[in-house]
């Protein structure tokens, strides 16, 4: 085994957990606030260093297996959470992204990858890295948007008096759908070079299309009926379920028996 991820993974988990805790208790104390920022960012840095080393040692982009895509997701989500916090001052999203990233790293701890260097020739393309990065980044943004929706739904159904805004969800969806579209198009351009066609309705492609069109429905509905929050929030929740099927559920569908691109387990 060329590299042991355990230490890096645990370090990132501990740093994020500590950062989140410090954010919670900081109040107005400046020093603790700075420590919180430091710890949270250090977690991201540790994971970034690990990913970079892994890439170097494997001699291929670490994006081939589901575990490897979880690694990128666990890195991007806190980045998005942190950026959202800095830009728009939503503190809760910082905690949420940290928590989800920790869960994803924990899954990788429980099911360790034996990082395998083989990369089939069709994946050895300049498109591979931009395609996967852009996609995982979109997934992380859209996950954050989903959480806004779910928080809104919970507030609504617990009957609290509420002034919920979908502005943050909308912003995240515009960004996320932009990246999702890029991922889809990069995939099409790559498909033409690798398999000879840009779109073949392969099961993975079919589900990627469904994800994309689901968010498309959302932005159009929002544009037209900005006041109908409940329907919009349910649309976001539904679209994210489709996204999850596209990401890892496809592997288990009967329709994917002949798929050319499902991730290696």
């Amino acid at each position: 085994m060329p590299i042991d991820p355990t230490m890096f993974t645990i370090a990132a988990i501990v740093l994020w957990a500590l950062g989140m805790l410090l954010f919670l208790i900081a109040g107005e104390r400046k020093v603790i606030k700075w420590l919180a920022h430091g710890s949270y960012l250090a977690g991201i840095l540790v994971l970034a260093v690990f990913t970079w080393m892994l890439w170097d040692i494997l001699g291929r982009p670490p994006m081939r297996t589901l575990g490897e895509t979880r690694l990128w997701y666990a890195m991007f989500l806190p980045v998005i959470g942190y950026a959202t916090y800095i830009r728009w001052d939503y503190k809760w999203i910082l905690h949420y992204s940290g928590a989800v990233a920790i869960v994803f790293l924990a899954i990788n701890l429980i099911y360790p990858d034996n990082y395998d260097r083989d990369l089939m020739p069709a994946l050895q393309s300049i498109w591979f890295v931009p395609h996967v990065i852009v996609y995982i980044f979109a997934y992380a943004l859209l996950a954050a948007a989903t959480i806004v929706a779910i928080k809104g739904l919970i507030i609504e159904y617990t009957g609290k008096q509420w002034t919920w805004s979908m502005q943050l969800a909308d912003n995240l969806v515009y960004l996320g759908l932009g990246f999702l579209t890029l991922g889809l198009l990069f995939g099409a351009l790559w498909g033409k070079e690798a398999w000879g066609h840009y779109w073949m309705w392969d099961p993975k492609e079919t589900w990627a299309f469904l994800t994309w069109i689901g968010y498309l429905a959302y932005i159009h509905y929002r544009y037209h009926k900005p006041k109908k929050l409940t329907t919009a929030m349910w649309m976001l929740a539904g679209a994210f379920i489709i996204l999850m099927i596209a990401w890892f559920g496809v592997n288990y569908l009967p329709s994917a028996a002949n798929s050319v691109h499902t991730y290696t387990q």
């Binding site: 395998d116 515009y174 960004l175 099409a188 000879g196 079919t206 299309f209 469904l210 028996a257």
Partner: protein, 441 residues
């Protein structure tokens, strides 16, 4: 308390009275689905070859022409104005989503699907009538929305145009162009000049170019080592954490056995029970391994994956188990070829996976090789594809790429919560954002 409930509901508008909205959209979808399914049952599925050039060009021009005509001359018509607004967009998107969702759960192949699924066209969704109708509705809405926002062409509308017109162009050219797409394969053998190809149905086709294979090349990853059950040769655990890559000095734990690689040759020959590196036709890789079980007892010996010329060799580690070397996986493969064209051109080049070569309107792809011989294969299969509509599709795709960058800029500063507003009361709030989503209707 949902905001919906606090909205003041206008008096209900009778169905089909202008302006049409969602209700009319859903009825439209139901009508298209029923008609489509009925046609599917009566007339069977569609064949894309019916649209072969120039029919597809006329069909595309007619469809687009109708939209332009409708927008220019019949703007007040209920159907036309409705197609250009969001209710039609959302219901047509929903219809496509519904059909593609069925497709996502159904194996897209006749074999393995019950007869009723086949006769409703669900196992061949993209060439079914309901899909055709859904696409026409979707494209009509998309096209009409594009027309509606064509003027004035500035600022926000340019981004809108890139997304909507880009998508219209890409999908239209993709759907219509499918009829003109040709995919054939050419089987090459070293030293032979090949003019002919076969299509998916096995029909022979003369090609406007000839290819001679000079050499097929392959590089391989190192093989892996795994524990197998000796009598049936099955790998005990397929999980990649229960095998590791072979290389001199590599060591790992395989399901309780400590396995160490003492020696490794990429190509080797057997000499007196040992293996020595040799460069020879069909020479397989080999490794000397030492295996220690949980009680500390050790066995040592040579293993090889074998090749088409030599048999494999295992190392027995207990009564039922052995360690074995897997067959190496290809890391790169390519064909060195000479391509001859009718006008006497001669191109010497390499065709590799992910690096197709374009000649005379055809793109040539490395497709496969004779996997019985692996890297010693003396034949190679090239796939040749002609897709004359590709430039149009790419025009749409590049418009969409710029459009998605525009989309990313649409986010706005957050609305202030009431507490924040209260806290800021008194300050001049020149930055107060208005909702970025202005109701269209």
């Amino acid at each position: 308390m949902s905001l919906n409930k606090t909205e003041i509901k206008p008096k209900k508008k009778p169905v089909w009275a202008a302006p049409w909205g969602y209700t009319e959209g859903w009825l439209f979808v139901a009508g298209l689905l029923i008609t489509g399914l009925a046609l599917q049952l009566v007339a069977g599925g569609l064949s894309s070859s019916a649209l072969a050039w120039p029919v597809n060009l006329y069909a595309g021009l007619a469809f687009t022409g109708l939209i332009v005509f409708g927008w220019v001359f019949l703007r007040k018509n209920s159907l036309v104005s409705w197609l250009g607004r969001v209710p039609a967009a959302v219901t047509s998107i929903a219809m496509i989503t519904f059909l593609v969702l069925i497709m996502g759960f159904t194996l897209q192949e006749d074999a393995g699907n019950p007869a009723w699924v086949q006769s409703l066209g669900l196992s061949n969704m993209t060439s079914s009538w309901p899909f055709l109708f859904g696409m026409m509705f979707f494209m009509a809405s998309l096209g009409m929305a594009t027309m509606k926002r064509l003027t004035p062409m500035k600022g926000r509308n340019i981004g809108f145009f890139l997304n909507h017109a880009g998508l219209y162009i890409a999908i239209m050219a993709g759907l219509l162009g499918a009829a003109d797409l040709q995919r054939v394969t050419m089987d090459l053998y070293e030293g032979e000049v090949v003019w002919g190809a076969t299509d998916r149905q096995g029909h022979y086709k003369d090609m406007p170019l000839a290819i001679e294979l000079e050499r097929f090349n392959m590089e391989e990853f190192n093989p892996k080592i795994a524990v197998i059950t000796t009598n049936d040769g099955r790998i005990v655990s397929e999980s990649i954490s229960d095998m590791f890559e072979i290389g001199k000095g590599h060591r790992g734990n395989l399901i309780g056995w400590d396995v160490e690689i003492l020696e490794f040759h990429k190509m080797s020959g057997r000499i007196d029970g040992r293996f020595e590196p040799v460069v020879d036709y069909g020479a397989p890789p080999s490794a000397l391994v030492r295996v220690t079980d949980s009680h500390g007892s050790q066995v040592e010996g040579w293993i090889t994956s074998g090749s088409f010329m030599y048999s494999h060799q295992l190392l027995q580690i207990d009564r039922d188990h052995s360690v074995a070397m897997t067959i190496p996986q290809a890391s790169h493969y390519s064909s060195d070829v000479v391509i001859y064209t009718p006008d006497g051109e001669l191109i010497e080049t390499r065709i590799e996976v992910n690096h197709p070569v374009s000649v005379n309107g055809w793109k040539l792809y490395q497709y496969s090789y004779d996997d019985r011989f692996g890297k010693w294969s003396s034949s190679s299969t090239i796939e040749a594809i002609r897709d004359p509509w590709l430039p149009v599709v790419y025009t749409g795709i590049f418009m969409l790429i710029f459009g998605s960058v525009y989309l990313m800029t649409l986010g706005k500063a957050p609305e202030k919560t009431e507490e924040q507003l209260a806290a800021e009361a008194g300050e001049p709030s020149g930055t107060e954002p208005e909702s970025n989503i202005k109701g269209a209707a």
